[in-house]
Amino acid sequence: MTRFSAFSLLKQALNGHKGWREQWPDSQPKAEYDVVIVGAGGHGLGAAYYLAKEHGITNVAVIDKGWLGGGNTGRNTTIIRSNYLYDESAKLYDHALDLWDNLSQELNYNVMYSKRGVMMLAHNTHDVQSFQRHVHSNRLNGVDNRWLTKEEAKAFCPPLNISPDARYPVVGAALQMRAGTARHDAVAWGYARAAAARGVDIIQNCAVNAIRRGPDGAVIGVDTAKGFIRARKVAVSAAGNTSVVMDSAGLRMPLESFPLQALVSEPVKPIFPCVVMSNTVHAYISQSDKGELVIGSGTDQYTSYSQRGGLPLIEHTVAAICEVFPIFTRMRMLRKWGGIVDVTPDRSAILGKAPVEGLYVNCGWGTGGFKATPGAAHLLAYTVAKDEPHPLNAPFTLERFSTGRLIDEAAAAAVAH
């Protein structure tokens, strides 16, 4: 692996960039691996990297039906934060945040993690109660998050409309200063390059058709578009397609896949310094390093794998943004795209062992997948390597849906009275 640095860049610039080598090879599958990871998004590639780096397991393949990073990794609005309500969630996402903090150096790939602050707007008494609960819980958990008055919120984000006459007036905000954004593609590429350098095979355009189990029920490998690949362990990290893959191992999942849309505006000079989210009006926004306003929307109402999404939802999202930031109506939408988010009944992820020997699953991240990337990857690698969950992901089992021990972030935030 050529080490990236200002010096290597300068050196290459002087010889016309002729010396750069490929960042990862396009591997063909071997007959057998210690671990096969299904899904080459940030989570899967990262898990392969940590398996190799922290657990010495390098005979690993990451297999994807398309190009690496082509799913939700490359389709999200790149928001990173950890100010979740429940201890389990806050600790998990804060673990990710700790890894984000050093990820560029760790991977020798600038993932452009920008700690510009994520501000969540409160629009009514219920929001205030809910966000104060977050702030206090986070504070006692050692997670950065603080309450701002609406004037402080405006000072932090000048385009904000804090007029009391707004349909949903801003009454305050919760700010996590350590939160922010990162360059999504770079995360996938950085992990791919670092994993490949440690011997991991990245196999693209190779659909996994089924997980194959032996006579004793344990996993023995995967059937793919390029034939059977033997594996001692299989980790499924396939986001919206997890249900389909797990079904082939005879496991039905508590998952539904919904279309989620996002959009960017034309690029403009810096105007928007942070990330702002409003759950009440269902929109979130930041400005990319290119100058585009990056805007996320809610999910459409029906399950879908079409990656399309409808016009009405986008209209409501744009209207919500323009209600909170009225200076933006004359900005223009440049492009809009859709992803597929896999959602569990309690809106928290499933990350752990599946009830089949040698099978592991990482799914159900909903809209939280990108921010969890290094954490989920790190904990998935741990769980696969040790055949038991790390304490941080131990609560995120499949079993919780039988016992009732749900981690219901959505219920805790969303009920109006």
Partner: protein, 97 residues
């Protein structure tokens, strides 16, 4: 925005008149107390999440009725809709892409 045929109104109408109501043909068990925790979990939470033809429920604001539909979740195209209470129809032959 989808276009949906309401089997009660016998009219094909815009999605904005409809709400999605989850997977179809998951009947509430007659005697929930007789179920194990796992069986009850299956009823509550386990979903097919089909990639392709998916049996699902919608409700039409016009007539207020819940009804069933078979929709391809890859193309989002409705293959058929039918009234609530009718048995699950078989998959049409050439629906899978």
């Amino acid at each position: 925005m989808l276009l949906i045929h309401c089997p009660y109104c016998e009219d094909t109408l815009p999605e904005l008149e409809f709400t999605y109501a989850g997977e179809a043909h998951i009947a509430r068990p007659a005697d929930p107390s007789a179920l194990s925790d796992e069986e009850w979990r299956d009823y509550l939470f386990i979903r097919t999440n089909a990639r392709g033809p998916h049996y699902e429920r919608w409700r039409h604001v016009g007539c207020g009725r819940f009804f069933n539909a078979l929709r391809d979740t890859v193309s989002d195209r409705f293959l058929m809709t039918y009234k609530a209470g009718l048995p699950r129809p078989p998959l049409p032959q050439e629906t899978v892409e």
